[in-house]
């Protein structure tokens, strides 16, 4: 009798916890869509912010700014992460790859604000001004371990027989990797890269004192640059009701970007018919 009772209670408890996970997510999403949807307009996507006191305006500069930051981050982080992943999966002995993997995992766990300090010290201080370059660098460094480990995983999933097939035809290691192994893993690697970009797109802390913020368009990569996460932060802590609404809208746009990247990544991965057997 008691066993049955405990069983029922535990089952119920785990169910309630599982349900609350889902409902918290749904609540946040629903609230965001409700609040953000009200302030979202064509103007929001295409206009610059209005001066304090005037209502209306938008965050076009922050949307473009976020894209610029991600571009720099991708240029910095993805090639390094990808090549590192190739090394871990295809070359190397025991000790060094172990160290690299361990370090990558540690790097992955470094608080994002520390990445910000790093970029601040390396770029902002010597240049004496905030820039998209500094912010992008901070995000790029965060990308490296994520892109590296996911590239490694997908390369490892390529059957050994494909490598042997290429080597048996007289290809050298590098040729076999570049022409057979990497193409076979390409969808997975691309998905991993997209998801890693989505993961850093919402980072705020490393941008606060690297790319900083800007109420106008920034040209090039050398000026302080607005970004959606920092805009959310700035607008949300302001005392103005209108700004609060815009913060919600910015959050919604950011979420939509991440969502599109996620779905896109999964679509790429599930459409891998040519790359797999059967």
């Amino acid at each position: 009798m008691r066993r049955k009772w405990v069983n029922g209670v535990m089952l119920g408890l785990t169910g309630v916890c599982a349900l609350s996970t889902v409902s918290i997510l749904l609540f946040i999403l629903g609230y965001l869509v409700w609040q953000g949807g009200r302030a979202l307009s064509w103007d929001f996507l295409t206009q610059l912010p209005k001066p304090v006191g005037e209502s209306g305006g938008g965050m076009a500069n922050a949307i473009v700014g976020s894209a610029k930051l991600l571009l720099v981050a991708a240029a910095v982080g993805l090639p390094v992460g990808f090549m590192g992943g190739v090394y871990l999966a295809e070359f190397g002995g025991r000790t060094f790859p172990f160290l690299v993997r361990y370090t990558a995992d540690l790097l992955n766990g470094v608080p994002s604000i520390v990445m910000g300090i790093f970029a601040y010290t390396m770029v902002v201080l010597p240049q004496h001004h905030f820039s998209a370059l500094a912010g992008g660098l901070a995000l790029g460094v965060m990308l490296i371990p994520i892109a590296m480990r996911s590239s490694e995983e997908f390369l490892r999933a390529v059957p050994q027989s494909l490598r042997e097939g290429a080597l048996a035809l007289g290809a050298n290691r590098w040729r076999a990797i570049a022409t057979v192994v990497v193409p076979a893993a390409m969808r997975g690697i691309a998905t991993g890269m997209l998801l890693s970009l989505a993961r850093v797109a919402g980072e705020t802390a490393p941008l606060l004192f690297t790319s900083f913020n800007n109420r106008y368009w920034s040209s090039g990569f050398g000026q302080p640059t607005a970004s959606l996460p920092v805009m959310v932060f700035t607008y949300a802590i302001s005392p103005y009701e209108d700004w609060h609404r815009q913060a919600w809208a910015a959050g919604l746009v950011l979420l939509a970007m991440v969502f599109v990247a996620n779905v896109g990544g999964r679509l790429i991965l599930s459409g891998r018919r040519i790359g797999s057997r059967g």
């Binding site: 050994q160 097939g165 290429a166 080597l167 048996a168 035809l169 193409p183």
Partner: protein, 278 residues
């Protein structure tokens, strides 16, 4: 360790300490394409081939039989040095291809001359055409105007052309298992190898697909020296003119197939053929 297991068996069975002696009659009958002598092979500290000596006759089919783990696949992989993909694998002794030492040859050149087909068909995730063209591209004939012609010739030699000529630009994975294996043979034939090694090429195929491949091998022997590892003794009896019997890392007997199957010189061979062990 496996090595100690092997030696324990051999202590109890001293007569198989001796490796095969190639009969003088055999040597005189055909010119040898591959001459192996004093070949010892190790995976780290474990010795898996003991003092193997054999002369593989030119433009004939040679079958290698023996129970699992007897070293026949390892032996096959020393002939094109595919064992080098395994860490701590090491071959000692002499393996001569037309008098040139295989163990010191440029490995890409060696593998162009000695092609290999694997147990599990391993087409690349590319089109049928690109699979066959791969070896040609790797060996620098990718821009040749005759590329398409060479691909066609190879597919014809592998008896696959008529089945795939209308779908050359479809994925190789669209083919059936038997067709995929013949595609792998076509891919190996494209670089016009002098020797073709096959490692249990039919073990995953149904009898009809197997018959097609056996027929194909039979026709290929005019232009190619063929060495095939097989678990299927009927297959050895059907296709091979010569057969070698491996046991516990030694080549016990090597002779004309009919001799091996009708009047083997060694007791162990007879025991294996008649199914008394293995």
């Amino acid at each position: 360790m496996n090595g100690s297991r092997n030696s324990a068996v051999m202590i109890g069975d001293p007569k198989i300490e001796k490796s095969a002696e190639v009969s003088p009659r055999l040597v005189a009958a055909h010119s040898a394409k591959i001459m192996v002598s004093g070949l010892n092979f190790y995976y780290g500290p474990r010795q898996v081939l003991h003092d193997v000596a054999v002369k593989v006759p030119e433009n004939k089919i040679t079958a290698l039989i023996g129970p699992s783990g007897c070293g026949k696949s390892t032996f096959l992989r020393t002939l094109n040095r595919m064992y080098e993909t395994v860490r701590f694998a090491r071959a000692e002794g002499e393996v001569l291809l037309d008098g040139e030492n295989v163990l010191q040859m440029d490995v890409a050149l060696l593998r162009r001359r000695v092609g290999m087909v694997f147990q599990k068909s391993n087409p690349f995730p590319k089109t049928i055409f690109e699979n066959v063209a791969y070896g040609l591209r790797v060996n620098g004939w990718g821009h040749s105007r005759t590329l398409a012609e060479l691909v066609e010739t190879s597919l014809r030699r592998a008896a696959l052309w008529d089945e795939v000529k209308d779908q050359l630009h479809k994925s190789a994975y669209a083919l059936s298992g038997g067709q995929q294996q013949r595609l792998c043979i076509a891919r190996a034939l494209a670089v016009d190898p002098e020797v073709l090694l096959l490692d249990e090429p039919c073990s995953a195929l149904d009898p009809i697909a197997t018959a097609k491949i056996e027929e194909l091998l039979f026709r290929l022997q005019d232009t190619c020296t063929i060495v095939i590892v097989t678990h299927n003794m009927q297959q050895a009896a059907r296709v091979a003119e010569y057969t070698g019997f491996f046991l516990l890392g030694r080549l016990i007997e090597f002779d004309e197939t009919k001799t091996i199957f009708k009047k083997p010189a060694r007791q162990e061979t007879e025991d294996y053929i008649t199914g008394r062990f293995g």
